[in-house]
Each structure stands twice: as structure tokens, then as C-alpha cells.
């Protein structure tokens, strides 16, 4: 079987990305300079997480069905809730949830939920495959909110958009879901949008990051961030 690739695989390889395996997914582990990338992740770094699992559910019974599977859900739309294994449950409306697999450990939640979808429709919950349709980037670091301010109309600063906040809005004129789940004191934004526009989004973000000396970082840099606050 061919390993699923990121929609920006070519750009990642051209940038010197060292592709490796993390929990069954092929992702960029680093760009050859882990120490500098770990530093950038605290200042401004952009990681591609597109090969990691994610799945969505919608329907009048979606919340109840997910709760029965042990998923902790926020009460309100546009909020995010971290699961025990590091996965993130995002409420996109009153009846739609997006689950992002853990970036830290082998995914168990998305795989479990996807395996259980065959009877979900009886509970009026309908699965939405999100792996192929959405790119998934992580923008991290102290300058992340200032950088997003250049390409997004929503105030992403801590005072207006704290950890756990979600905005479904326009990002560089693309429809996108922005999920803020800080790594300790370091701001971290998960960005998801139409995978057909992934190359454009990646290039736009890198362009916007230039004035803050931002750079692409590998998954190893995100793991280093996570270890710092544990």
C-alpha cells in the first residue's frame, strides 16, 4: 500500500524536509536542524501535520454518539477540548465535531471512532471523512498571533482568543478552521483548510512569517515544545 502523503509533499521535500514515520504516518520529522527548529517553534514555526489522522461527525445525535465513545466535548460551538491521549475535539457547530488525532502519541481515538462508524447512523451521527479534504498545519510561537493578523480578520491575541478557542473564518482568503491549543505558554494554532489549496496556504503563511523570522519546523520541534511544559 502506498503511504498517504501530504498535499504539499513536493514543497516539503524541496525545502529539505526529512520525511520519517511517526505513529504510522509519514511526516516531516525535521529540516536538518532540530535545535534551530525547536527555537523557531518558540518564536515562529510552521509544521505540516496533514498526514496525521482526523475525522468529523455531524448530525443531531453526533454529540451523544461521541460522548458514548468517551470523547470529551465542549458545551459550546467553536471550542476545542483536549482528550487524554492528546487528540483534540473541535465543535464546529451545535451538531458537528471535528476530531484531530494526537500529534504526540500513536493515534487511537480517530482509529477507534472510524472503526465504529458503521452503526453511527442509527444514533443519527454521520461520519465526515476529513483526511483527504483538509490540510492540517500547526503555526506555533510567540509571534503566531501577530503573523495571523496579516492574513486573518479575527483577533488571535491571547486576550481575545485564548487557548481552546476556535474560529471558522477566512485565512489568506481561504475558508479555514483555526484551533488554538497552546503548548504551555507558547501559542499554538492548528490551521485546517481545503487540501486543494494547501500549497497556496503553505506559501502564503511562509511569506507572512518572513518579517518575524519564521521558518518551517518538523514534528520533532513540536514534540520538544510539548516536553518543555510537561
Amino acid at each position: 500500500m502506498v503511504e498517504p502523503r501530504s498535499p504539499i509533499d513536493d514543497a516539503l521535500r524541496a525545502a529539505g524536509g526529512s520525511i520519517g514515520e511517526h505513529a504510522g504516518a509519514t511526516v516531516v520529522i525535521d529540516y536538518g536542524d532540530p535545535d534551530e527548529e525547536a527555537e523557531a517553534a518558540r518564536g515562529l514555526g510552521l509544521a505540516d501535520l496533514s498526514p496525521l489522522p482526523r475525522v468529523g461527525f455531524r448530525g443531531p445525535g453526533a454529540r451523544e454518539w461521541l460522548t458514548a465513545w468517551g470523547v470529551d466535548l465542549p458545551d459550546e460551538p467553536n471550542r476545542a477540548c483536549i482528550q487524554p491521549d492528546g487528540a483534540i475535539a473541535v465543535t464546529r457547530s451545535w451538531t458537528e465535531v471535528l476530531v484531530l488525532g494526537s500529534t504526540q502519541s500513536a493515534d487511537s481515538l480517530c482509529a477507534r471512532l472510524e472503526a465504529g462508524t458503521s452503526d453511527a447512523h442509527r444514533a443519527r451521527a454521520y461520519s465526515l471523512p476529513r483526511f483527504d479534504g483538509l490540510f492540517w498545519f500547526a503555526l506555533t510561537g510567540a509571534s503566531a498571533a501577530d503573523c495571523l493578523a496579516k492574513i486573518c480578520g479575527v483577533d488571535m491575541r491571547e486576550t481575545a482568543f485564548s487557548s481552546g478557542s476556535v474560529a471558522q473564518t477566512s485565512l489568506a482568503r481561504l475558508n479555514a478552521v483555526i484551533v488554538r491549543v497552546d503548548a504551555g505558554a507558547t501559542p499554538l494554532f492548528h490551521l485546517l483548510g481545503d487540501s486543494a489549496s494547501a500549497e497556496y496556504a503553505w506559501a502564503s503563511l511562509l511569506d507572512a512569517m518572513q518579517e518575524f523570522d519564521g521558518r518551517p519546523v518538523g514534528l520533532r520541534a513540536l514534540h520538544a515544545l510539548a516536553r518543555e511544559f510537561k
Binding site: G59, P60, P77, N78, R92, S93, W94, T95, G153, V154, A167, Q168, T169, S170, N175, A176, V177
Partner: protein
């Protein structure tokens, strides 16, 4: 920048929205004649003052209703369609 208060997403730039036209009741499908359907589909009041319109938040594919003053372009109020059409019209919303 003009800001629209979306009932699902909160305040957002107006560029994220599309107007879906006036909220008007459809004619009775059993008795309406062609003229009534043409009026419903193609003719608009285009009133000066506060009008009631469908609006759509594109990033979330979310429809809602807004009261908007067409003279001042002020958005008076936005709300969920179930407020007009009852909970049966949107059984999955709180």
C-alpha cells in the same frame, strides 16, 4: 471594515458572508398560480428601511437571518431561523 455578528461564529468581516435575499413566505404549493410563483421567485420589495434577509456565513456554510436597515446599512439584529420558523424547522439546534 464592516462587521456582521454571526449567531454561530460571532463578529466576522462582512466579506465572509453572502446575502441570500429577503425572507418571504413561499406560496401555497397546492393553490398558487404561475403569477404567484413568479412574484415569489423573481420580484423583490426592495424596501427602504429595516428589512429581513437571509445571510450565509461561507466558511461554515451557515444560514441565518438578519434585520438590516437598507438606508443606513446598519445591521439591527441577527438570529437563528428557528426563531421565525419554530424548532421543528431546525430540530438539531438548541
Amino acid at each position: 471594515m464592516k462587521v456582521m455578528p454571526c449567531p454561530l461564529n460571532g463578529p466576522r468581516p462582512i466579506q465572509e458572508f453572502t446575502c441570500g435575499g429577503e425572507v418571504v413566505a413561499p406560496p401555497d404549493p397546492d393553490h398558487a398560480d404561475a403569477e404567484a410563483w413568479a412574484d415569489y421567485l423573481f420580484l423583490h420589495d426592495n424596501a427602504a428601511g429595516v428589512v429581513r434577509e437571509w445571510w450565509y456565513h461561507v466558511p461554515t456554510s451557515f444560514w441565518f437571518i438578519a434585520d438590516r436597515d437598507t438606508v443606513t446599512d446598519e445591521i439591527v439584529r441577527t438570529f437563528l431561523p428557528r426563531e421565525l420558523f419554530g424548532p421543528d424547522a431546525q430540530p438539531d439546534r438548541p
